[in-house]
Symmetry: C2
Subunit: 477 residues, 2 copies
């Protein structure tokens, strides 16, 4: 850890983010432009995200598989909107085994095309449907402006690809996954996302409908944190995914795709962090509890370490780290683990051993007011409650922050003002002309029309024409 101070979140959010990622050893810059190395602490966080999602996928009947990362260029060209959307961002292999390839291979930016090709081979009858496959994979998009976790050339994600008998089933799946994502974000990451539908302009290249979970970061910018797409029959027609239905007639299947990526790590950092550094949500934190032993001489050392080792065993149900580094002071360790966002710190000195107590510092409540003085007895169950409360507090804090930065301006002048430091929730006529004008004039884009919104009547914030739904507008990552 560097001795220099972290930039203040409130003063330079962007530098705070960049430096924090490096100092907390979540990730580092790779020697290839726009790529990152995800370091062990960052990868452990991602592994916990993976576990939480994978469990939910499997509980809802999905299975994992692996499709090749190389896709023939011609495959991308089969779906017109898809190739238009992705061709500026492709990395292309032109040489293999010392030879120039006859057909260049694209490094997958996403896998609808190659998976569509395989589904066409596997699906013959309605009995073969639904197919509910997910893969955990790396993908590449040749972005010009990159940011750690938020937008890197190579990133890690899961991409689900399903095929169904009917349009209704495909829509049901798309929404089921959207709700699964929202449940994960809220109940695992304490990130209060808003599930909704994307505008035509913002949807996935090749989709009929794109749904999203949108989160507000602490600089009030929006982060699209996961998407679920209803692809209709677009890819089924492009790749000839056909099946004999219950009446023995040939039909095209209905497909969906959906993904959450390492971008979500960015969502966690920017939803909860503070001037001291990260604050990690307890259910995903690689280390939930750090134990810092405190002693001044060798006698005390032995006395304290014995109890610390016992404690470590008693707390085996949690992800615990004992910081027994002997070349650092307790004070340094406190700062270090605070910066790394560990939810709870247990401090244990000789007097605590005598009294059979322990000091618990809660990362999200600075100073003395966040300290708890607990009896050792029954510590695990006390800590379980404390961690759950911690999660609830994080979620409430992030929700309150978000809600206090969502505005409902009455006119476009007010709109222009509020989107400088918040989201606007306003009627919009749905016309891409207004959407583009707003984007050009304010940098705010449509984020989503939230699910479950009743149709109502109002005037478009931009053109004043009749509008039936309200939409979130915000500057976004």
């Amino acid at each position: 850890m560097s001795e220099e101070k972290l930039p203040k979140q409130s003063e330079n959010f962007s530098e705070w983010y960049n430096q924090l990622i490096q100092r907390a050893e979540l990730a580092d810059y790779a020697p290839v432009r726009g790529c990152m190395v995800v370091r062990p602490y960052g990868w452990a966080l991602w592994e916990n995200i993976q576990k939480a999602l994978d469990k939910r996928f499997k509980e809802t009947g999905h299975v994992n598989a692996a499709f090749p990362m190389f896709i023939p260029m011609s495959f991308l060209e089969k779906e017109k909107e898809h190739v238009e959307g992705f061709s500026p961002e492709l990395a292309i292999v032109t040489i293999g085994g010392g030879q120039t390839l006859e057909e260049p291979l694209v490094v997958r930016p996403t896998s609808e095309t190659i998976i569509g090709h395989m589904y066409a081979k596997w699906v013959k009858s309605y009995r073969d449907l639904p197919i509910l496959i997910n893969q955990w994979a790396n993908v590449v998009r040749w972005e010009m402006r990159t940011r750690m976790f938020l937008r890197t050339l190579e990133f890690y994600w899961q991409e689900g690809h399903t095929a169904h008998e009917t349009a209704e089933e495909a829509e049901e799946e798309t929404l089921k996954i959207l709700n699964l994502y929202a449940d994960f974000a809220i109940n695992e990451a304490a990130v209060p996302v808003i599930p909704g539908i994307k505008s035509e302009a913002e949807k996935f290249a090749g989709a009929n409908k794109s749904y999203t979970i949108e989160a507000m970061m602490l600089d009030t910018k929006a982060l699209q944190s996961g998407t679920s797409h209803n692809l209709g029959q677009n890819f089924a027609k492009a790749f000839e995914i056909q099946y004999l239905d219950r009446n023995n007639e040939l039909q095209y299947a209905w497909t969906t795709s959906w993904g959450v990526s390492t971008r979500f790590v960015g969502a966690i950092i920017m939803s909860h962090g503070d001037d001291q550094g990260l604050i990690l949500p307890p259910r995903l934190a690689p280390i939930q509890i750090v134990i810092v032993p405190i002693f001044k001489n060798d006698d005390d050392r032995e006395k304290v370490m014995k109890v610390v080792r016992d404690l470590e065993k008693d707390l085996a149900q949690f992800r615990v780290k004992v910081d027994d580094r002997d070349n650092l002071t307790p004070g340094f360790k406190f700062n270090d683990w605070e910066m790394r966002g560990v939810p709870l710190r247990l401090e244990l000195g000789p007097r605590d051993v005598d009294n059979q107590t322990v000091v618990v510092a809660q990362r999200d409540i600075p100073g003395k007011s966040g300290k708890l003085f607990l009896p050792m007895e029954n510590l695990a169950s006390q800590l379980e409650t404390i961690l759950n409360d911690f999660h609830d507090r994080l979620l409430k804090k992030a929700t309150d922050f978000r809600d206090s930065h969502i505005f409902e301006p009455n006119n476009y002048v007010e709109f222009q003002e509020v989107v400088q430091n918040g989201w606007a929730y306003v009627y919009w006529c749905g016309d891409a002309v207004c959407e583009t004008a707003i984007k050009n004039e304010t940098k705010a884009t449509t984020r989503c029309r939230p699910l479950g919104q009743e149709k109502s009547h109002g005037k478009c914030i931009y053109c004043g024409k009749d509008a039936e739904y309200k939409t979130y507008f915000a500057k976004a990552y």
Copy 2:
């Protein structure tokens, strides 16, 4: 599943292997030459392999991370033997975002170079050592002759990369991992591997020493199933991984690397399968127990299915599948699951319900002799024992097969004969000239000199000169 019969293992091992993989839906051919799609059943097997290895890595202090798959061409050139070994097999990205790249990017064939570059940045002092990092990744080697799982252009693996203070520690790590691999192979996959050291000619490009676990397949060919390399200071010097030692002097670190890949799925298939199809080792099998309900009318159906559903819950500690497909006969299902290698099949009909019994068919013992008739009471603990016995039987059978196909020929004429259908364990002088001559004349290569072998005295099987160690020779995948 196709209705055509699987080729007999004894008649056409190679076709048996290829067709079985497709029929059991482990994998399928991808639209890119030499690539495979790992289907859900195959990927579930790989996930179980991953879990078993990852658990062992973490227990021995290793952590996971992720390094980029794109490596600047110049990095590979920094270690002379490494670039010579890998350059014929590279896939190269020359175009990114529509532009020709100034420096082409190699799609990683392995990651020593890019990881070496990062370690040089991270390591300053002896306090930063050891670094014990693993990654689960996809890699690409442009092979001309490919086989599902055994040799594909893109494959999946874990690659561990460690850096240490001393030569001794690096050697200790290399051997620790080799033994970890052997433990995994034997105790999880029931594949009786022989751990040993590779010859100079067969070692990894850039290593000082390469260790291997070698397994005998049922056609008696050898399969290198995992490798662990002591890289000495070769990569540390090429990438300047230097640290200040305890005397404040600058030293090069000592590094290792080690990997097990999806090739291991091939090892499992070819170690245990038979004419009926796969036989999967119970600790890794995606489905350990399949329950096939048997009934002829709707009354019986209800009666049987109720008990089947209860059973499914009682056996939640296992990976259980209930085959309730209503368009297939029990006989068809029996064959189908046998082909897919599920260790145990529970058959349950109305009479079993009345008697509170269940029929258990064991995949590795064909026909009636493999059937057990068990009381329902306490079934889970009975099945636990049965699965452990199954594992032990598989391991013993594979070990017996291997041992009965290892020969110790007295002269080169006998040698040439035995390597046609087995391995030869013979004195070899260690000279690459003899090794090459043997390879050219018999297609048998040195597999390894087994660990723990005492030095002794004999004559090289080829040149007759003095030799101190015996080495395994075999035809290999």
